[in-house]
Symmetry: C2
Subunit: 338 residues, 2 copies
């Protein structure tokens, strides 16, 4: 039973007004009296009419579609992020097209192009690395883009991020407060602005406390647990000169813990480990990772709010939003044993 779908025209007939008035009523645009608008909307409700989004989009209206491009799913943080975004976007009447750039700038660019072709109203993107910004610059005039991740130092893109610098600073100071004086920063991805800001925060805190910074870079394109494990396996040893490791991400921390376990380095007795992100795995009692939290809900709400402002106003109140990170104390950091 394929019932013919109701159109704006059916509503016009039923209410004895014109075609256009119905359009005005349902799209919430002005140029119609409050009374007739209410009457029309009531009738829509009664007859079970819902607008055809495809037609609306083609005619120049909005698609109520947002593209959400993540750089990968190795990090469970991304899954939670996209799902939260979908739920919040839906509350606002939008749906999400999910895309995975698989940590490649090439795919990222292609995906944004596809999304524009699909007439999404805006795209939220977790950039692959610092190259993403310049690579996507050409699209900035075509569609609102909000970046989840840190901003370029020299230019201003609309973005929302946790204060990565501050987070790393707080984390380092926490380790110092426990008595650590030789802290390794582990898994820095020099290609990523987010990472650069984090390591800068670490270095600043070291300077403040007259400590010697030490950084091990992660030269692969993602911060997966696997990569953290490999990197730690290669670099960690029982006689390391460090009493604490500040990992660039929780996944790197968890990989490092795995390697430390294998090398019989006890955590936190022999080595304190601090993460960054607070992914759901870190809560597990067997991991119990002390970490710097990126408040997921705030990140998501800000990103969606920002993109919707851009979509509607085209002149948002704020160009970017910085969220305060929190220290989550669990069980992987302790006072160093001499």
């Amino acid at each position: 039973m394929q019932t013919k779908r109701l159109t704006i025209y059916d509503i016009a007939k039923a209410t004895n007004v014109s075609y256009a008035s119905v359009s005005r009523a349902i799209s919430g645009r002005p140029g119609i009296s409050q009374k007739t608008r209410e009457y029309i909307l009531e009738t829509c409700e009664k007859l079970g009419y819902t607008a055809n989004i495809t037609a609306r989009t083609l005619a120049g209206g909005q698609s109520k579609l947002i593209g959400f491009v993540v750089s990968g799913m190795d990090n469970p943080f991304m899954g939670e992020l996209s799902s939260q975004a979908e739920i919040y976007a839906r509350e606002k009447g939008y749906n999400l097209i999910l895309c995975n750039s698989m940590a490649q700038n090439k795919h990222e660019t292609e995906l944004v192009s596809i999304l524009i072709n699909r007439k999404v109203d805006g795209v939220i993107i977790v950039p692959v690395n610092s190259n993403s910004y310049t690579a996507l610059e050409k699209y900035l005039s075509q569609i609102p883009i909000v970046f989840i991740g840190d901003n370029l130092p020299e230019k201003t893109y609309t973005h929302v991020s946790v204060d990565n610098y501050l987070g790393a600073f707080i984390g380092t100071e926490y380790l110092v407060s426990l008595g650590h004086s030789s802290i390794l920063y582990f898994g820095n991805r020099p290609q990523s602005f987010t990472h650069r800001n984090r390591s800068a925060g670490y270095i600043a805190a070291c300077k403040k406390h007259k400590l010697q910074p030490a950084i091990i870079d992660n030269m692969s394109s993602t911060s997966s647990i696997e990569n953290g494990y490999m990197l730690a396996k290669k670099n960690f040893s029982a006689d390391m000169p460090y009493t604490a490791v500040f990992a660039a991400t929780d996944t790197m921390a968890i990989g490092a813990i795995q390697a430390a376990d294998e090398k019989k380095i006890r955590i936190p007795c022999d080595l304190s480990v601090l993460g960054f992100d607070n992914i759901s795995i870190s809560r597990l009692s067997r991991i119990n990772l002390t970490t710097i939290e990126q408040p997921l809900d705030k990140l998501v709400i800000s990103a969606i709010d920002l993109i919707l402002q851009l979509v509607h106003d085209s002149e948002p109140e704020r160009e970017n939003i910085i969220i305060q990170p929190n220290l989550i104390i669990r069980g992987t950091c302790a006072i160093p044993q001499k």
Copy 2:
């Protein structure tokens, strides 16, 4: 610089053919000579024309959009599933609209309705529970739907799933082969067909080996780690009459392990724990969960292939696909200590 986008009309002018011929050429439909088709396609390529999907959809074509409805993101399995699906769908020229039903039938129904309104070509859905099938029945005539999860016993919906019955059977037999004779099945959700088939497999294996089945149900709507932990906390004790626990999902197993740790029940010495799913967390060395794997890639590929068959043929070769589960032996199961 907002350059005017090329339309089918521009291509028609450039090639000196009609409007309609261009449409035939790009949509791959018959009624056009091979020669002119190639010429038109070349010109499209040269001029950088890409079809407007919105217009195509409105005019009755396909949207090249697939709805993907998951029941929640508590289980990291879902994140991996949706991302894999997106990547594979994209290879086939489709994009994914991600939706989270938040384990509620109400949302699930609403979401499918939204997706239909969006003119998606098909929807893949991880059903909330057994009610989902009947609740969504009314949409079956309107749009192809593929379920990821077990089928109703009495009716046939198009679905792909791992052989849950077999998986549970294999798992139980593995525990028996280690020497366990009192095995608890933990976290069964009676509302879910997937779960019902799993517990049935467990019961069948028990019968075969003349063991007494014992099942603890999970009456909440999701199989989160948190729910597994709570349930185990309430039900586990050092003097339990069981030497092994077969958890309905990895998440339930991990929650159970957490509770066991707290109660000083050692795994696997005091208690063997077996999971089902093989989520990424289970690989972590500190979890190292022995489990029955649901091959994610096969699940995804089958689901996408199936929905695309439905979209194109409307008469697929197979109504449903059953995938073989694998036993993944890690460290949480051992020979029982007397």
